[in-house]
Amino acid sequence: MTANSHTQTATPEQIETHDLTVRCRGVEKSFGEGQTKVKVLRGTDFDVRAGEMSFLVGPSGCGKTTLISIVGGILSSDAGDVEVLGKNLGRMRNRKLADYRLSNFGFIFQQFNLLPALSAAENASIPLVARGESTRKAEHAAIELLEKLGLEGHNHKTPSQLSGGQQQRVAIARALVHEPKLLICDEPTASLDAASGRTVMELLRDIALDSHRSVIVVTHDNRIFDFADRIAHMADGVISKVENTCNETGDETDKE
């Protein structure tokens, strides 16, 4: 599908708290010590509403990756509150956080990070297997999802036997197989050509997005901005602007 949108700006305060999947307030994060200390996030506020596809965009080094790492429970913040699905991640211990990620989050990475020796079905079934499902059941669920993603007949192929677009679809299957409530995508189209990139985004909108699941996409690729419900622009460690777009088929895209 091709998503069309028009845009309007919004502030975090305008969003009802109970609608939020992600609610970040005053998040700060620094790396290094002493004179080499670099403040990457400077009191960042960032919200993601339930059932929406939010894009996080901005120049390299502005703190996008750090912010989604914190939202994804992979990094901890130095200050501020990070609430995801109603839980304050800062108060969770590492083991609990890992379990929380496994149950509620799905991740799609720029480099796919599929296990090279495993088949597409085995790769896609990993989160279910990790949650204790039997290998057979997990692979069955993974195969169903791979078929939805257009990978019929590719279940037994290893990543090296698949194209970049197909590998990213396997990664999408891996991110969705356990039905997470939040999907975090880091540059999902960066390693793909334009056509494959749009196909991947269409699949994300069609299959990943629903009223119970939110999707965060970090990207530089302005060719896919029309898939976003909201676009948060980041600069120098803070969200500088949020565009609310209304993706409705048939409307003309209106960009700033």
Binding site: T65, A98, Y100, R101, L115, A117, P127
Partner: protein, 380 residues
């Protein structure tokens, strides 16, 4: 996740083969060296083991091993026989002698002279001939490995003539004696003949072997003999251990074999460590991704332990199989390696060594997995 871990390993055939080779090589080398070492120690006491009828050995107090006897006076035999608790006592001669065949082949041999009347001390394992044949003039019995050494490529047979210190000897029996430490050729003959063959002077009584009266403790009888004669008298078991300890304390054998074993372990650690580390490094990004997805460190640790265990078990199995095949073949076909076996105790010990090698080798790699930052997956 164990299956996933094993699939990861099986998918990288080159490294899998390298890892298995490392463990198998170490296992084979350690098994082989340790087994030969124990085999050699066993040879150090083989003469004592073969004299099954006696349970007490009497010797000069200075003697420390079966291979270095100091002659006793012939009169000592009567004194030992007179000790209470001694059922019987007979002379036992042991020396080294040079043997020449009619074809000019010259070999060093261990010659054992047993009591002329009773012939006690000859193993009851005759391949050809019988113990009674040793009563014939110039009669000797030799072991099969010795026969093949003297007459290479020829079938075992009787009646061949040898020269022992310029005296004639005739092979009347082939007896399957345990391999000796000092030489591959062992000769059994009567005591009176043995002393003539070596011609070492007046006192030639190497040992007196005795049997304690039934119902009496051999240790007590040995102590009685020592107390009453001033000679050294110990049980067969004690003499076996003393002979082995002498080898351990006075030869370079333990150091030599120990060095090879340590080198084998180091090579194993190096091969397995480097290969496993490379495997982990190549998959580190994937491990980071698994961490990011929400798989706990303990789970990842189990995965790497499963991979290490798989490599260890397969490598150990192959190495052990190769060692067993080596000894199965050589113990039958190579006389110099007869009596060297892969002992179950060695197999168990090497299994522990292999486990340590795999554990030490993979420790560094496991640490890498545990400390890898899952956020690296977002860094392109």
């Amino acid at each position: 996740m164990i299956t996933t871990a094993l699939r990861m390993l099986l998918g990288d055939r080159t490294k899998l083969i390298g890892l298995i080779f490392g463990v198998a090589f170490s296992t084979l080398l350690i098994c082989q060296q340790v087994s030969i070492f124990f085999g050699l120690l066993d040879r150090a006491s083989s003469v004592v083991d073969d004299v099954r009828e006696a349970n007490v050995w009497v010797m000069d107090p200075s003697v420390k091993t079966i291979d270095a006897p100091f002659p006793l006076r012939d009169t000592e035999l009567g004194r030992v026989r007179g000790v209470q608790g001694v059922d019987w006592a007979v002379p036992f001669f042991k020396a080294q002698v040079q043997v020449r065949t009619r074809g000019g082949n010259l070999e060093n041999a261990v010659i054992l002279g047993v009591d002329d009347a009773s012939l006690v001390g000859v193993p009851d394992a005759f391949v050809l001939g019988s113990i009674e044949d040793l009563a014939q003039p110039d009669a000797i019995a030799i072991n099969p490995a010795g026969f093949r050494l003297l007459f290479p490529g020829q079938e075992l047979d009787l009646g061949r003539k040898l020269e022992l210190n310029d005296r004639r000897a005739k092979i009347v029996a082939i007896v399957d004696a345990s391999p000796a430490f000092a030489a591959n050729l062992t000769i059994f003959t009567r005591y009176s003949l043995a002393t003539q063959y070596t011609n070492n002077g007046r006192n030639q009584l190497s040992f007196i072997i005795a049997k304690s009266t039934d119902g009496l403790d051999a240790k007590e009888v040995a102590q009685n003999i020592a107390d009453q004669t001033g000679l050294k008298a110990i049980t067969s078991d004690q003499f076996r251990i003393e002979s082995i300890m002498y080898i351990l304390a006075n030869t370079g054998i333990p150091v030599s074999f120990g060095t090879v074993v340590v080198l084998g372990a180091i090579i194993g650690v190096a091969i397995v460590g480097l290969t496993f580390n490379q495997f982990i490094m190549e998959n580190l990004k994937q491990y980071a991704a698994l961490k990011a997805i929400g798989i706990r460190n303990s789970r990842l640790l189990c995965m790497t332990i499963a991979q290490a265990t798989f490599v260890g078990v397969i490598g150990y199995g192959l190495g052990l199989g190769a060692a067993a095949a080596f000894f199965s073949n050589t113990s039958r076909n190579v006389d110099a390696l007869r009596g060297f076996y892969l002992l179950p105790e060695v197999a168990v010990g090497v299994a522990i060594a292999a486990a340590v090698i795999v554990f030490v080798s993979t420790l560094l790699s496991m640490r890498r997995v545990l400390v890898v930052d899952p956020a690296t997956v977002f860094r392109g």
